[in-house]
Symmetry: C2
Subunit: 198 residues, 2 copies
């Protein structure tokens, strides 16, 4: 029914979301029509509230509802180790593992001359500020293993090493449970490069 | 980050939508955090507006922004033929085909003693009202070919036939482009039952 502008607008809004096609967007919009007025208002409010309440941590640029994020304000964590990630979402993946007990720094992207992203556009200055003011023993660079991610990792390591701080990079290789014939060449290449003696 | 209640609430809201898993809901919620405040407000508003503006047509119970839906108010359509569907969404599928030029009646479900849905819970009374007041020549029953859909089709046809109105049912059989070895037994059964001489 192209004669239902409010429905069309809602469908378009759902379509904008990641990996939602026309069909799914339609189904989502119809689901909203089946909601009670209260349920629809609650959903609308959840969008506005999330956007309003969730800010960036003043220290590490992680998502936070307070000035300082829960990780940075956790005294039990090791504040001398900083894991550098591209995006705040990466922190959630890393936190799920529960193996890492240091803190983070979200640089907010990667250096990419193609996309016109230079180091000044990233949160690198605030990282250097932390390194010069706090007692940091190690920086773990966890940018993604893409060309831009590698460039950014190299850029940061060149800035940090002269300060006498240890700089490490996450290990890349075969994913656990992965099979060789399903892995891409770059991953296999990395796995060979990073091989360990048994 | 379980310590971000507003984000958790938003993720849960996305998860309630049809065929959205935890992972997709998370990605959608993060997408919202990347929206500008204006974009987030626009989305929230689209939900509220759709829910507020979209009512049910007073004649056929189709979705409508006006008292009478665009199909019912279209004078060029054949108002003597009514296609009975379970859900207003079915109208959209049928309208896409552009082959049908009659009008509709949304009964809003199917008779199901299992789910406690009796004929009184469906828009059957308003259908009978239309039949007795308007000049109707044919009723096409397009409820789904499920047990409940069939029961409902039979129930309606028993009510309508005594009025001397022609009652037909959509043809069910092999989907065009479908292959025999991919079709389910019920569909094949229907295709055999409804076979035509060449």
């Amino acid at each position: 029914m192209s004669t239902l502008p409010s429905l069309e607008i809602l469908i378009e809004q759902f379509r904008r979301l990641p990996s939602v096609g026309r069909r799914s967007a339609e189904r989502m919009a119809y689901a909203i029509l089946d909601y009670s007025k209260e349920e629809a208002n609650f959903f609308a409010n959840a969008i506005i509230e999330a956007k309003e309440n969730i800010k960036r941590c003043k220290v590490c640029h992680n998502f936070s509802e307070d000035e300082i994020c829960p990780v940075c304000s956790d005294e039990s964590r090791d504040h001398s180790v900083i894991c550098v990630v591209e995006d705040a979402r990466d922190i959630i993946s890393l936190e799920k593992v529960k193996d890492y007990l240091g803190v983070y720094h979200v640089i907010g992207g990667t250096i990419s001359p193609m996309k016109g992203v230079s180091p000044e556009d990233l949160n690198i200055k605030s990282l250097m500020y932390r390194l010069s003011n706090d007692d940091i023993s190690e920086i773990i660079i966890a940018t993604n293993p893409t060309v831009e991610g590698e460039t950014t990792a190299l850029y940061i390591s060149r800035l940090v090493k002269p300060l006498g701080i240890k700089v490490t990079r996450l290990a890349y290789g075969m994913p656990v449970g992965g099979e060789l014939d399903h892995a891409d060449e770059v991953t296999i290449g990395r796995a060979i490069e990073g091989r360990k003696e048994l």
